[in-house]
């Protein structure tokens, strides 16, 4: 096991960088309609920001900000958003994932409703990908114990 290493430079730089990384991740998710990007890419960037936090500090610091229970819930939450949007379309009388039906409850026409539906599922995908990346990373580096720093 590597001894706990406190390095002021690394920790300060990471503290400054991480918000920017996260904002960039959100930008990539939201701007997927117009430029390369989308839920997966943005989700991975968001997950990477937490992984950077784990590397610079230790696992406990990262877990203080996003605990295990909440993280597991995020894994499910993104998919519930995704399949929930599809299910709403089903309830509104369309086929599954037919976003144009969302135009019945949103104040937009059916083509813009498709665009909004895409944004909705990208957000869902982003949440799930972020949570899954963090979850797998924590499981792998701490061999499932979630207690010590990087072993």
């Amino acid at each position: 096991m590597i001894a706990h290493l406190e390095d002021v430079i690394i920790q300060t730089v990471c503290r400054i960088l991480i918000p920017f990384i996260q904002v960039y991740g959100l930008y990539v998710i939201a701007h997927g309609h117009h430029s390369p990007g989308g839920g997966f890419q943005g989700g991975v960037i968001l997950g990477a920001s937490f992984i950077l936090l784990c590397v610079a500090y230790d696992i406990n610091e990262a877990k203080r900000r996003l605990n295990e229970k909440l993280n597991t819930m995020f894994c499910s939450l993104g998919l519930i958003i995704y399949s929930g949007i599809g299910f709403v379309c089903l309830v509104l009388g369309g086929n599954y994932l037919n976003y144009s039906r969302l135009g019945h409850i949103l104040p937009v026409d059916s083509v813009s409703a498709r665009s909004l539906g895409i944004l909705g599922i990208e957000i869902g995908v982003g949440i799930t990908v972020m949570a899954v990346m963090i979850s797998i990373f924590l499981d792998l580096v701490s061999r499932g114990k979630h207690e010590e720093g990087l072993e």
């Binding site: 989308g38 597991t72 993104g78 869902g124 949570a131 114990k145």
Partner: protein, 90 residues
């Protein structure tokens, strides 16, 4: 064992190379893949989904069910890792 593996690999490679003889050239704009299904995605994406990024509109709308499946795949991976190596707190 290694020799056997090498022979299997070389045979598979030779078969794959044999298959490429009839494939369209690289970058051919008239290959079947470029003219059968995909043109509709590019030409209709603006009027049907209002999303200029064609990859996003195909990923999240035309073939969104695949994307649901792929999100489920990584969800499965997370659950598998938790099941396999996470130690429950005592």
């Amino acid at each position: 064992m290694k020799l056997l593996a090498l022979i299997a690999v070389l045979m598979t490679g030779a078969l794959l190379l044999y298959g490429t003889i009839d494939m369209p050239d690289w970058g051919d704009p008239h290959s079947p893949a470029s003219i059968h299904v995909s043109p509709r995605y590019i030409e209709k994406t603006m009027e049907e989904t209002a999303v200029p990024n064609v990859v996003t509109s195909v990923l999240a709308d035309y073939r969104s069910y695949d994307t649901l499946g792929e999100t489920v795949v990584i969800f499965t991976a997370a659950m598998a890792c938790i099941l396999l190596i996470r130690r429950p707190r005592t």
